[in-house]
């Protein structure tokens, strides 16, 4: 049986492509990177893949707002991406990739939303606790115990176009990954919630569950020794982030 194929799209300023490819490989996929310009030259090249990732970084410097320029350029791939989605392909946006998917309108799908500056007004790198609040709605979502992952962003606050739209997304289970406090409840309190997102939104799915975007970096917690306290906690066989990649690989295998 051939391995599921994952494509990791990179643009000028993308900087998490290498470790994202490594994560897909660890999860059992055959992964490669492609420059966005090559894919724009031949959109049909996406047809060979089942998994697509837009990784973290500062695409085009985030000069016009995080992810904005790459989102604009993705419009030329609308047709190819729809085809990819319709035949069951899974799309993952991590950090800057999440910002791109939201600003391109692929997430949350339906009402408009954006991702804006952290309440803190600055970039921050720290580890957070997360829980999937609609397990089963998407193959990406880790069910069961909360997971720990690092965040590293200056613009991570998810904002829907209106309070009503936000409530509708919450009601439909699309606000699927939340920052949680020590009691595993979604939180708006800094620093457990690093950016001030309402209801602790850290990740969002589209209505079908096959597009997932999140601010934290699952590709940075693949090995136990990536954990910030690995020298003082019990050994674990692998990092929590791997569960997100493996869920997707298993779903398309």
């Amino acid at each position: 049986m051939s391995l599921p194929r994952a494509i990791v799209l990179r643009a000028p300023g993308t900087n998490c492509d290498e470790e994202t490819v490594a994560a897909w490989q660890r999860a059992g996929a055959d992964a490669e990177t492609a420059h966005i310009d090559r894919v724009l030259e031949r959109p049909a090249s996406l047809d060979a893949f089942q998994l697509l990732t837009i990784p973290g970084g500062f695409s085009y410097g985030d000069d016009l707002g995080a992810g904005r320029i790459l989102a604009t350029r993705l419009k030329a791939l609308e047709e190819a991406l729809r085809r990819f989605h319709d035949r069951g392909g899974l799309i993952l946006g991590i950090c800057n990739g999440f910002q791109v998917l939201v600003k391109a309108g692929l997430l949350p799908g339906g009402p408009r939303a954006t991702i804006t500056h952290n309440d803190s007004g600055r970039f921050e790198c720290r580890w957070v606790r997360l829980r999937a609040t609609s397990p089963g709605r998407s193959p990406f979502l880790p069910d069961g115990d909360p997971i720990e992952l690092p965040v590293a962003h200056g613009e991570g606050k998810f904002v829907a176009e209106s309070p009503e739209a936000f409530d509708a997304l919450a009601g439909s289970g699309q606000l699927a990954l939340r920052y949680v406090d020590g009691s595993n409840r979604p939180t708006e309190t800094y620093p457990a919630n690093p950016n001030g997102s309402s209801a602790g939104v850290a990740g969002v799915i589209d209505p079908t569950g096959s597009i997932f975007g999140l601010m934290p970096h699952p590709e940075r917690f693949i090995e136990f020794i990536h954990h910030p306290r690995w020298t003082r906690i019990d050994h674990r066989p692998e990092g929590d982030g791997l569960r997100i990649f493996r869920g997707a690989v298993d779903a398309v295998r």
């Binding site: 000028p12 300023g13 900087n15 310009d37 804006t116 803190s120 921050e124 590293a152 940075r220």
Partner: protein, 980 residues
């Protein structure tokens, strides 16, 4: 048409920039209250209508969910301004925009996107607009000190009276000859001074003599090339020059000290050096398939004038060093060290033209953050030192480690190879950076040298890196170096030193019109590399770069003529002998002297209790938490960081060193640490150098590095070396580097010096203290054995290893008491080496739970840090701390800073094994880790007579140690630290 698109936060949403400005104005005591509303925006010039721009704003330039925008034509030049000016509320609006020629990445991106949308846009500039209510009399000060940096930005009060953004005018070629041959000494020095050449009279005379033999005057570009190449910054003429010191003549200080130790170690069988002191970074072997390299640079003078831009291009520049080492290395982590005046310096005590240290520190942190994070390189190690004497001369050290495949550490250039410039375009940025950094700052530096400050564009450099790593694996070039100080002049001059080179300057792609041939040649525009490309690979290289959106331009070729020939549209504008360029500089002879300060034994206050002293030390700027800085850096990107800079139960403890995995899939790691302490240097520069080497080594040994595989880097930052006393202390420090590197078998692999760190204003001179930064890179055979410094479990024993002596000279404790004198700590290399080895072995056996080295603040601070990081208490006694007789008193045992000492946490069942391994070495039981007693964990220490000398809740220790600078991103960030 010139439009102003103003983008405001939507009503009710946070205006963090406005809030930052109000808060900083209050901090700086600028009257008040201030109410500030900020907006971002663009000036867009071109043949487009308001509705065109509206559409673009809705689609891409603004975020309609969280922002609103307005579009209006600019009111034109001041004469015709009128009806369209916006209504002013209170004071007039203030617009801040980059000066013409200053890199503006946001505007460049906006222009590209607008053109993609099919709009006819000729130029874009970014602009920030402030609506300000506050005391009108202080508006000027607010603009100068908070809103804009005059070195790179202009502030326009009132309507934006501009009618176009044109940056350049066409350049009319005219070859400029400098009539040197007929000049006397006075005239020569006038040429040097007025041209900002920083050439001495001996050097000017040598140039005149050389051209006398050629029977012609030099051209301006020839003189500039010589000035760049011979600058202190590029040629290190002091450290490589002759020094007369205490009746002895040192022919070449570097060669006879630091290089020599490395060469001697190599001759003595040390076999893991690959390329040292030859290339842009020092290269050592890592594993069977990979080498690693490391370089640390300073960017002090530019950072004094524009902290953000200076540090931004400082980190950008040092990243290019590994990229330009051998055939190019991939950067895998960054380091940064800042020396500033105390951030709480009173604002009214600043000399003219000097920025407040808070502004400097916040600016340099932001500069490193924005460049390093965008490059996707984790910033994993650093330090901050505060001393009043850094007020006018802050120091900014930036380092980068790279990894490269084995066999790629060397380069060569062949005749016929094309000279190819890759990366950013050339502009007027940083003209005279090399010669500027070789001179003292003055109160007027900001005015005369603004051009020496640059702003970087990290994404351009990331694109260059993406392209180069592919070109390297395809073997498309034979040599590579970066354009740093001196620009093309230094890069091409160095690469072609053994051969010769011909350059057609008009081929260089320019940011805007109007650069003269000389400006093209010496511009220090960022993000440029120079490659030697075999002609048969030129097309492949250019198209590979194009596929990554990177410009690669053929500028000329390397030739076997021994000459550097520069042309502009076919006209020869320069023709220099490579031999004269590189060997013609008259050797510098400097005098050095050193008078040690009279030794004095400070009388320590007699106290029963030292808790208050400890808490005060934990609040010291050098010792307190740096979390507010560290968290702004992405220290996890690339997924390699397995020991983070912050460790422990709440991920906030000050780790000894970070550890990264250079090779994905391997568990062999690299530990990166550093040491510096200018206060020791005031008293005893030889001892200081030993101590900071010991500190850098301690840091990496404490996390598990093999003491037999540690490489060092030196960065000397000193004052004016033409003053014998200043140079004397440098000579002593260099000699200590030699001696200790040899004893510890830790070779220096690279280094850099920055001299003339002095500030002169109205006849008064302020020099920095002698500052030596030592960076260490240690190899960790298996990172799964790494140790952190946080105590792990109640019941574990705490041991202290190493000898405590009465060494309080230069200590944090005496500084805290406001006292001077005392003996500076001295390294005993035989003892130190034995301790490093024993720790490494004990850890290899799995006997250690945590390890922390003793540095500023001594035993008391180290112990407190271990407790706050582990969120546990400790019950300790000083009775068994190994010490010499003269150190047997409570304050000395608590606060002496004797080197080569560590605290170890050991499970009870391994204590006897560890004690056995330390047989014959100074080791003692300090106490036990304890959990909360009566509600909260406490640190309790008994002194020699058995009475309590320290007793404090760990929570209180932690609260004193957390001392963030409120950088006004948002208040809860700082409050949460204190409220956890």
């Amino acid at each position: 048409m010139l439009w102003h698109l103003q983008i405001d936060p939507a009503p009710g949403l946070a205006d963090s920039e406005g809030r930052r400005v109000s808060a900083e104005a209050a901090d700086l005591g600028l009257g008040g209250p201030w109410a500030v509303h900020s907006a971002r925006g663009f000036l867009v010039e071109g043949d487009l209508s308001e509705s065109d721009l509206r559409l673009a704003a809705e689609q891409v330039l603004a975020d309609p969910i969280v922002e609103t925008f307005t579009i209006r034509p600019t009111p034109g030049d001041p004469q015709s301004r009128g009806a369209s000016a916006p209504p002013a509320s209170g004071n007039a609006p203030v617009h801040v925009l980059p000066r013409p020629g200053v890199t503006d990445p946001v505007a460049e991106s906006a222009r590209a996107v607008l053109r993609d949308l099919g709009l006819d846009v000729s130029e874009v500039r970014s602009v920030r607009t402030y609506m300000i209510d506050g005391p009108a009399g202080s508006l000027d000060a607010l603009i100068r000190r908070v809103l804009a940096n005059d070195a790179v930005e202009q502030a326009i009060v009132g309507p934006l009276a501009l009618d176009h953004l044109g940056q350049g005018r066409p350049y009319a070629f005219r070859r400029v000859d400098v009539p040197l041959l007929g000049m006397d000494d006075d005239a020569l020095m006038r040429v040097s001074r007025e041209g900002q050449l920083s050439l001495s009279i001996d050097e000017m005379r040598a140039i005149r003599a050389h051209f006398g033999e050629l029977r012609r005057d030099p051209t301006d570009i020839e003189l500039e090339t010589l000035a760049q190449t011979w600058s202190e910054h590029c040629s290190h003429k002091t450290l490589r020059g002759r020094v007369e010191f205490e009746g002895e003549v040192i022919e070449n200080l570097l060669k006879q000290t630091i290089f020599k130790a490395t060469k001697d170690l190599e001759a003595d069988g040390l076999d893991w050096l690959v390329s040292v002191f030859e290339d842009n970074a020092g290269v050592i072997r890592f594993d069977d398939e990979h080498d690693v390299c490391f370089k640390v640079e300073t960017h002090n003078h530019p950072s004094a004038i524009d902290p953000y831009g200076g540090a931004n291009t400082g980190i950008g520049g040092v990243i290019r060093d590994p990229m330009g080492t051998g055939l190019g290395a991939k950067p895998i982590c960054n380091t940064d060290v800042f020396c500033v005046a105390p951030p709480d310096t009173p604002a009214d005590s600043l000399p003219t033209g000097v920025l407040h240290p808070r502004r400097v520190l916040k600016g340099v942190v932001a500069g490193v953050r924005d460049y390093g994070n965008r490059m996707g390189i984790p910033t994993v190690n650093g330090a901050v030192v505060a001393d009043e004497r850094y007020l006018a001369n802050p120091l900014v050290f930036c380092g980068t480690v790279g990894v490269l495949p084995k066999g790629m550490a060397f380069k060569s250039v062949s005749p016929g190879d094309r000279i190819v410039a890759v990366g950013g375009r050339t502009g007027r940025d940083g003209i005279h950076g090399a010669t500027f950094s070789s001179a003292e700052l003055t109160g007027e530096s900001e005015q005369i040298s603004g051009g020496a400050v640059q702003i970087g564009n990290a994404i351009t450099e990331k694109m260059v890196l993406d392209a180069l790593l592919q070109a390297r694996s395809r073997g498309l070039y034979r040599a590579i170096t970066d354009c740093g100080a001196g620009g093309f002049s230094s890069a091409v001059g160095e690469m072609g030193a053994e051969l010769g080179a011909e350059v057609d300057l008009e081929r260089a792609p320019l940011k805007y019109e109007g650069l003269s041939y000389t400006e093209i040649w010496i511009s220090e525009a960022q993000e440029r590399m120079v490659l030697a490309v075999p002609p048969e690979h030129l097309d492949a290289l250019v198209s590979l770069c194009a596929s990554e959106g990177v410009e690669a331009t053929d500028l000329g070729q390397f030739v076997d003529t021994g000459r550097l020939t520069l042309r502009y549209h076919g006209n020869v504008v320069g023709d220099l002998s490579m031999h004269f360029l590189h060997e013609g500089r008259p050797r510098v002879t400097r005098k050095a002297a050193f008078t040690p300060p009279a030794e004095s034994a400070p009388t320590l206050p007699d106290r029963d209790h030292y808790t208050a002293d400890l808490l005060a030390l934990l609040h010291d700027w050098d010792i307190c938490s740096k979390e507010w800085i560290i968290r702004q850096y992405d220290h996890e990107v690339q997924g390699r960081t397995v020991l983070k800079p912050l460790v422990g139960e709440h991920e906030e403890g000050p780790g000894n060193a970070s550890v990264v995995l250079p090779v994905r899939g391997s568990s062999r790691g690299l530990a990166v640490g550093c040491g510096l302490n200018p206060r020791y240097g005031d008293l005893d520069p030889y001892a200081m150098a030993g101590c900071v080497i010991d500190e850098a080594i301690r840091n990496v040994v404490a996390v598990g590095a093999d003491p037999a595989q540690i490489a060092l880097l030196d960065n000397f930052c000193w004052g004016n070396p033409e003053r014998p006393e200043t140079l004397g202390s440098l000579v002593l420090a260099a000699q200590a580097c030699h001696d200790l590197a040899l004893s510890y078998r830790t070779p220096f692999i690279s280094g850099k010096d920055s001299l003339y760190n002095e500030y002169t204003h109205e006849g008064e001179s302020l020099a920095i203290p002698p500052t030596l930064l030592i960076s260490a890179m240690g190899q960790v055979p298996d990172v799964r054995r790494c140790l952190t410094m946080d105590v792990k479990a109640a019941g574990n024993a705490l041991l202290i290893v190493g000898q405590t002596r009465n060494e309080l000279g230069g200590s944090a404790y005496l500084k805290q008491l406001g006292m001077v004198g005392g003996r500076v700590p001295r390294v005993d290399p035989v003892l130190g080496m034995a301790i490093f080895k024993a720790i490494y072995e004990c850890n290899g056996r799995g006997w250690l739970q945590s390890c922390h080295d003793l540095s500023e603040g001594g035993l008391a601070v180290a112990l407190a840090e271990m407790c706050l990081a582990g969120a546990l208490g400790a019950e300790c006694s000083l009775r068994d701390v190994p010490c010499l007789d003269d150190a047997a008193s409570d304050p000395v045992l608590l606060f002496s800073e004797s080197p080569s000492r560590f605290l170890l946490e050991v499970r009870p069942e391994h204590v006897s094994e560890v004690l056995d391994r330390f047989e014959g070495l100074p080791v003692g039981r300090l106490g036990t880790v304890v959990a909360a007693s009566e509600g909260e964990p406490r640190l309790h220490v008994r002194g020699l007579p058995g009475r309590t000398v320290i007793d404090a809740p760990v929570a209180e220790i932690r609260a004193r140690w957390l001392r963030p600078i409120d950088d006004h991103g948002f208040d809860p960030v700082n409050h949460h630290l204190l409220n956890r």
